[in-house]
Symmetry: C2
Subunit: 300 residues, 2 copies
């Protein structure tokens, strides 16, 4: 089943303790789409400026990603993010953000996108995320990401959104911020009680936790020794997960857990290179090979 | 097979965001022994003062733990630790340490302990840990814990110890401290290259990582919502793990991984109460029931 994703498309400048790289293809919808494209056909909705290099669009199109929902604003500049990672490669500092055309992002889904059954709302203003949901009334599964900024400043819109979602993914610090507990198990269930049928808490190098009414579980991250650039790992996780659910056209508990595992693995490849570089080197076979290792790792 | 553990036996005073409890039965060898006692016969070596309540020894004896190696120093006072946990229940501050009789701990193993095949050296001065190894020349498996203090101040002795160990367990911050990397996967293998055949990095609520020449894997912690007092979780982990290895009298790779899982579960029970309170409520059956849940959680 086709999968629609709405989110940022960006130019990233990334500084790690070892290297600085500029003009990387970045953005939440980009990392998501690329990861999901190993599993299903993806329809991307985003906005870029005139400075957007055509070869970036081509790179996505080469993976079969439908970019007809990617608007180019004449005279505009693309969203740019510049960040620096701490030596632990988990914490990062945002050095510069230029929202540019993404600041006025008002996503309008192309007609052929509106019958989508699987929808992912990458991190964005909750009111905009709500407007996207209105455009896919026949959806079967809508999952969103969010961030600290919206939790702190757009709580009402966010809560309205939560009531309309099937799933929410957010990271550990965001989950704690939404609740009155430092215990992630409690936090996951508290967030779930706000509306979504399931909640996934991403813990970076420590894996991801899943919460539904009847289930609570954790999967560890795949222990890659080669962490080059964590940017987009969370979106790549969501992309692998949603891509697999769309491929199976199913989201029963067993399929959801397997999807979590696929998300874990696409994220593990994503961090092994700057931007999408490592992702461009792999195939579905590589993901499946790592899946065999992952299952083996968790068998005893 | 009997399992010998040498380490601290203490009185703990623990403050959490919710409660303060004094005069708890604590210490590394204590938490280790109790957890291991669900799997095998344990022989404890430690030292306490005259103030040590006899009922604490009785509590251990009731679990079948051999306490003939627990010396009582006349006129001495027992090691006392007082600590406060941050709201996240992971970070803690040591408020007061009184080493007392543990400051002069010079473990001498009773004759019947010296033929032990399975030995665990709980956190202690590396030179003392080395002296213990000399007393169990016929051992099949010797595993030790260590801490930041020894890594920083007793590096030579610690490295000598590493050369004689089969396994080392340490926590994530300690592993990073021993190496020149913030990447735990690299750190694990770097520590392993210092001597031990395997290294286990404990990550608290995020689980534990295993490193041997041919294997690298991670198991998540069991997601208990009920974290009351994390004190002793690492020792309880080691106790469950070593207890299972001793029970099986085997430490091939498959058995080691299952042992890691049992350690994960004994630790998960340990944190559900102050001191050993929760551990006193459970049986092997409870551990096995949680093991079924844990295997189920990691199956997809």
């Amino acid at each position: 089943m086709p999968l629609v994703v709405v989110g940022s498309v960006a130019i990233d400048n990334v500084e790690t303790p070892h290297e600085r790289r500029d003009n990387l293809l970045g953005g939440s919808a980009t990392h998501f789409s690329y990861a999901a494209s190993f599993f299903t056909s993806v329809r991307l909705v985003g906005v870029v400026g005139e400075d957007w290099p055509q070869e970036h669009t081509q790179l996505l199109a080469d993976r079969g990603i439908d970019t007809s929902g990617l608007s180019v604003v004449e005279g505009g500049k693309t969203f740019t993010w510049t960040g620096r990672y701490e030596p632990n490669m988990n914490d990062r500092e945002t050095l510069e953000v230029e929202l540019n055309v993404f600041g006025d992002f008002d996503p309008v889904l192309p007609e052929q996108y509106r019958k989508a059954k699987y929808v992912f709302l990458a991190n964005g203003v909750p009111s905009v995320q709500l407007k996207v949901l209105d455009q896919v009334p026949g959806r079967r599964l809508a999952v969103a990401d969010t961030m600290d900024l919206w939790i702190q400043t757009q709580r009402d819109d966010l809560e309205e959104l939560l009531g309309q979602l099937d799933g929410l993914v957010l990271n550990d610090s965001e989950a704690k911020l939404m609740c009155d507990t430092e215990n992630l198990v409690e936090a996951g269930h508290q967030v779930r009680a706000m509306g979504p049928k399931f909640v996934i808490i991403k813990k970076g190098e420590h894996g991801a936790m899943f919460f539904s009414e009847h289930e609570t579980y954790v999967l560890p991250a795949f222990p890659t020794p080669n962490v080059v650039d964590p940017t987009g790992a969370g979106d790549s996780f969501a992309g692998g997960m949603m891509g697999y659910l769309s491929e199976k056209d199913n989201f029963d508990p067993d399929t959801l857990k397997t999807a979590m595992a696929y998300g874990t693995l696409t994220a593990s490849f994503n961090v092994e290179g700057f931007g999408l570089e490592r992702m461009q080197e792999i195939s579905r076979d590589d993901i499946e090979a790592r899946m065999r290792d992952f299952r083996q790792m968790l068998s005893f």
